[in-house]
């Protein structure tokens, strides 16, 4: 596997982002800087607008403000390429779709009705990086939560995105799966030139692995290093003092 060192020169800026549905202002005044080689976790209570923020970044919902992707070396602006990992996909158990089909449907040009050895090997190699190569012929509906998530990750990083956007991707995954997932994130930060934005509920993992944490409730109510954010009043108001106790601030690090 070729190693790409994150250059640290790419920066994604969200400037005064706002989203409104009709009269209802769902998000406003979101200002964020995200750097490649770093993982930014977005946390907040249910209905705080986390998913809406993700949809705005994806261009699914109209937003005000600006998303800029800048190369700090020469100040040029570039098109932002996003690798997105959704919460779940619409597949039921008996859907006749193999992992190869899924991968190829989203990333390949060759119709999935034709199988070429070359494409097959290519997909297999991409799955290999996430240790799921042996699942290539398995129907997607029969995968476990953790397996599916790895396949989706492999798809997301396949054509070298600048931003990896994960929307609560670890639902239905056990503790071992969670550890493996966050270790994979560490690995991606080190080997790929990309920034990671992760919407998450798992505060202890966020505390342990995220470089930056953004607490949102319609707008950014706290931001910074995990340790700083977890000690703010805003954080304690949302998650209670118990949450801080649970994660044992300062002992996990």
């Amino acid at each position: 596997m070729k190693k790409i060192i994150p250059c640290g020169f790419h920066c994604i800026k969200f400037i005064d982002l706002g989203v409104a549905f009709g009269d209802q202002q769902v998000l406003s005044g979101i200002n964020l800087h995200v750097h490649c080689g770093q993982m930014t976790a977005i946390i907040g209570r249910n209905g705080a607008g986390k998913s809406t923020l993700v949809r705005a970044i994806l261009g699914e919902v109209p937003y005000t403000g600006d998303i800029q992707f800048k190369n700090k070396m020469n100040g040029t602006m570039q098109g932002l390429k996003i690798g997105y990992v959704p919460q779940a996909i619409n597949i039921d158990r008996n859907t006749p779709l193999s992992v190869y089909d899924l991968f190829q449907a989203f990333t390949g040009k060759l119709p999935i009705l034709i199988r070429s050895k070359k494409e097959y090997a290519h997909v297999k190699e991409a799955l290999e990086e996430f240790d799921v190569a042996e699942l290539i012929d398995q129907p997607v509906g029969t995968l476990s939560g953790g397996q599916l998530q790895r396949v989706l990750l492999a798809m997301a990083v396949h054509d070298t995105p600048n931003l990896l956007l994960l929307d609560e991707p670890v639902s239905g995954v056990d503790k071992n799966g969670m550890d493996a997932f966050y270790e994979k994130m560490e690995y991606l930060k080190e080997t790929h030139d990309l920034a990671i934005i992760l919407v998450s509920h798992d505060l202890d993992y966020v505390y342990k692995y995220a470089d930056n944490v953004i607490l949102i409730d319609k707008t950014v109510t706290a931001a910074g290093r995990p340790k700083q954010v977890f000690e703010t009043e805003a954080f304690k108001n949302v998650f209670g003092k118990g949450a801080v106790g649970d994660v044992e601030v300062g002992q996990n690090v």
Binding site: N94, L97, I112
Partner: protein, 267 residues
């Protein structure tokens, strides 16, 4: 006995027509089932009546053209209202389909003349002409080309529209194109298959194939094979038993469905 059957040119034409239509039904049906659009294609089939009625009112002699134009507009309208998501889409489609069907029936029954049009309800593949076979050949080529270009993107959209969009697949364009394609297929084959049965032919082969396939290639190829098989066998059986072709094809397709269901259950 086959010699005698093929001594009739109408049987030769009918066989060719079946061999052209049925693989298309098998192929397009896979995506209709995958995208849970069975209601949509059913509504389109019923709207054929309205298309004919529109043609009659406007004095267009060739009702196939008015059916196609109406079908395309209706398909795009259905897509538009489903996307707005004002109400659940099966309810909306049902409302619009009933409305269109009633309108068509009302107009065509004016002066007690509906019996002139009742053939379209069950269809009659034996009456197909040489020119209409040429139409089907063109349709066959168009759909096959579209399929090769779009199958990946259509599949991606059926799995997760937002994810597809994030990979710069234009979801709306693809969905509209697919809707227009279904409209073309339905309107150009409805005279031979019949309004009452067309959806069965779209859904049954794909549903049967789904019972036994594990990937998309198997799904598509089995569906095409089942569709051709039921078409040809249905035609021949209907010839020897002197019963209508459309229903016979659906009966064969249903038998295949139940067989694959039983076979695939233990999988």
């Amino acid at each position: 006995m086959f010699n005698e059957m093929f001594s009739y040119t109408f049987m030769i034409r009918a066989t060719i027509a079946i061999l052209l239509i049925s693989p298309l039904f098998g192929m397009v049906g896979t995506m209709i089932v995958q995208k849970k659009m069975a209601y949509f294609s059913d509504a389109l089939g019923h709207s054929a009546l309205t298309g004919i009625a529109a043609g009659v009112i406007m004095g267009i002699g060739n009702t196939t053209i008015s059916m196609i134009i109406f079908g395309i507009c209706f398909a795009l309208l259905l897509n538009y209202i489903s996307r707005k998501g004002l109400s659940s889409s099966d309810t909306l489609i049902s409302v619009f389909a009933s409305c269109a069907t009633a309108l068509g029936l009302a107009i065509l029954s004016r002066g007690g003349s509906f019996s002139n049009y009742s053939a379209i309800l069950v269809g009659d593949i034996l009456s197909i002409t040489f020119n209409e076979i040429i139409q089907l050949i063109v349709l066959f080529a168009v759909i096959l080309l579209f399929w090769c270009i779009s199958i990946n993107r259509l599949t991606a959209i059926s799995v997760h529209a937002t994810l597809a969009k994030s990979r710069s697949i234009s979801v709306r364009v693809m969905e509209n194109a697919f809707a227009v394609l279904i409209a073309l297929l339905v309107m150009l084959s409805i005279k031979w298959v019949g309004i009452l049965l067309i959806n069965a032919l779209l859904i049954l082969p794909a549903a049967s194939s789904r019972n036994i396939s594990e990937n998309f290639r198997e799904y598509t190829y089995f569906s095409i094979i089942f569709s051709i098989f039921s078409g040809v066998v249905g035609l021949f059986v209907s010839y020897f038993t002197d019963m209508a072709t459309g229903p016979m094809i659906v009966i064969v397709a249903s038998v295949i469905y139940f067989a694959t269901y039983v076979y695939g259950k233990d999988r």
